[in-house]
């Protein structure tokens, strides 16, 4: 099989990740921060090292401001619900994943916040002039970094300037870009960075994180519960990282992430990015040569991740995806990819979405060649 659904979760994971998880489950296995026996300390040390390594990767100088969650969705919810109050105005884009869009819509309905949307054309190019006009008086600018449908990388520098000029906080959903693109919270002016660990960071599923700038002490805790600290008190401690981390964490996944971070450090951004982009380019050029499909182009001013979307002109999306799966063993994702806003903006909502190819560092040249041959056969 050829796995081209890495934007949903990368597969396979590096062998080091599996080994670290098995090793943790076999030799450590204890709850971190709930006891002070040898194995609990060992478990807590894994978490401590992982927090430091992850913070280093994202340019977070104070590693106690990086927090583990179940996934990126929980990270985003934690930030939005912890920050926004009645009357607040949020500026976002018309290209957002439902991980951001749905909590924003719920807060609009239940908490009385106001949403403003930066329009985009069909190539994911944002209207910066309108964005500036809409930015006055906003409390928060929230946007995705790497679009999960088209691969378009949003201009973080523009958002950072916009946020600074508007006196707003900046939240970035880096689920599709963390690990693939160099992100530095301080350099990039990010106040809240949210991401999953199981995509470009090659950690197991069930783990995400967020990291906060020093401006974010205003953020209230979203979930409260046991932290192993201030146990005599019935109110949530303000101490970091405990304020935002209640309950037992997913330690096997955190052990996996620590191994994944070491693995990816040995490879580096340039090599990983070049690998994905080379395959994306090959797929894109091959698809563009076919009369029967339409490729969802990204504006030339925008860089991309390895994600590529397309759709057949005359055939059913799901039927083509099924053929790719059943006859060629090519695994893709078909539909709206939890981002109806993007499909609306790029004009593919009425088609029922797109078929998405998303290679990873483990996708081989031979696999890409096989996909291209399969596409040519299907097109005949």
């Amino acid at each position: 099989m050829i796995y081209l659904d890495n934007a949903a979760t990368t597969f396979p994971k590096p062998p080091d990740v599996t080994e670290a998880m098995v090793s943790f489950m076999t030799h450590v296995g204890a709850n971190p921060g709930r006891s002070a026996h040898t194995l609990s300390i060992e478990s807590a040390t894994v978490m401590f090292r992982c927090r430091k390594a992850l913070s280093k990767l994202i340019g977070q100088k104070d590693f106690l401001r990086t927090f583990f969650t179940m996934n990126a969705t929980m990270a985003i919810n934690t930030c939005l619900y912890g920050l926004l109050k009645e009357g607040d105005v949020v500026l976002t884009t018309s290209l957002e994943h439902n991980a951001l869009m749905r909590p924003l819509r719920m807060l609009e309905k239940n908490r009385g916040i106001t949403l403003r949307f930066i329009p985009s054309d069909f190539t994911c190019k944002l209207d910066k002039k309108v964005a500036k006009e809409l930015s006055h008086g906003v409390k928060l600018i929230a946007c995705v970094h790497g679009n999960n449908v088209t691969g378009a990388l949003m201009p973080l520098d523009f958002f950072a300037t916009l946020a600074r000029e508007a006196g707003a906080y900046l939240l970035v959903d880096a689920s599709q870009s963390a690990g693939l693109i160099d992100i530095d919270m301080q350099r990039d002016g990010i106040d809240m960075l949210c991401a999953s660990a199981h995509k470009g960071l090659y950690a197991p599923m069930g783990l995400g994180f967020f990291s906060l700038s020093s401006r974010m002490d205003v953020l209230e805790s979203f979930m409260q519960g046991g932290t192993g600290s201030r146990s005599e008190e019935e109110i949530q401690p303000e101490l970091l990282p405990d304020k935002y981390e209640s309950g037992t964490p997913n330690m096997p996944a955190i052990a996996g992430l620590l191994a994944a971070l070491k693995w990816r450090e040995s490879i580096g951004y340039e090599t990983m990015y070049a690998h994905e982009i080379r395959h994306r380019t090959q797929l894109k050029e091959a698809l563009k040569a076919l009369d029967s499909v339409v490729v969802c182009d990204v504006h030339e001013a925008y860089a991309t991740t390895g994600v590529l979307s397309w759709y057949p002109k005359a055939q059913s999306l799901s039927r083509v995806a099924q053929t790719l799966n059943n006859q060629y063993g090519i695994l893709t994702r078909v539909g709206l990819h939890c981002s109806p806003a993007t499909h609306k903006s790029i004009g593919t909502l009425s088609y029922g979405g797109t078929i998405r190819f998303s290679p990873s560092f483990f996708t081989t040249d031979e696999e890409i060649e096989s996909v291209i041959l399969a596409m040519r056969e299907i097109a005949q």
């Binding site: 192993g228 990282p241 405990d242």
Partner: protein, 72 residues
């Protein structure tokens, strides 16, 4: 001088242990928080050495909250 640095989170206990462990003048170890000092269920850093003020300064510099309990 001997004593315990009581830390209030597991992360800060590990961080304090790491920082103080780098100072040659001290012998440090992670231990369960002594019940006589705190009801917290976490860890404390036991320290032995001269001029504990230097250790306190180190923790202050890294904005780690603590209480120090001296033992004879």
């Amino acid at each position: 001088m001997r004593g315990y640095f009581l830390l209030f989170t597991t992360s800060s206990a590990l961080y304090a242990h790491e920082l103080l462990g780098e100072i040659e003048a001290y012998k440090v170890s992670l231990v369960p928080t002594p019940r006589e000092f705190s009801s917290d269920c976490g860890m404390a850093v036991y320290i032995e050495g001269e001029a504990i003020e230097m250790a306190m300064h180190c923790l202050d510099e890294h904005r780690i909250e603590y209480e120090f309990k001296s033992v004879s």
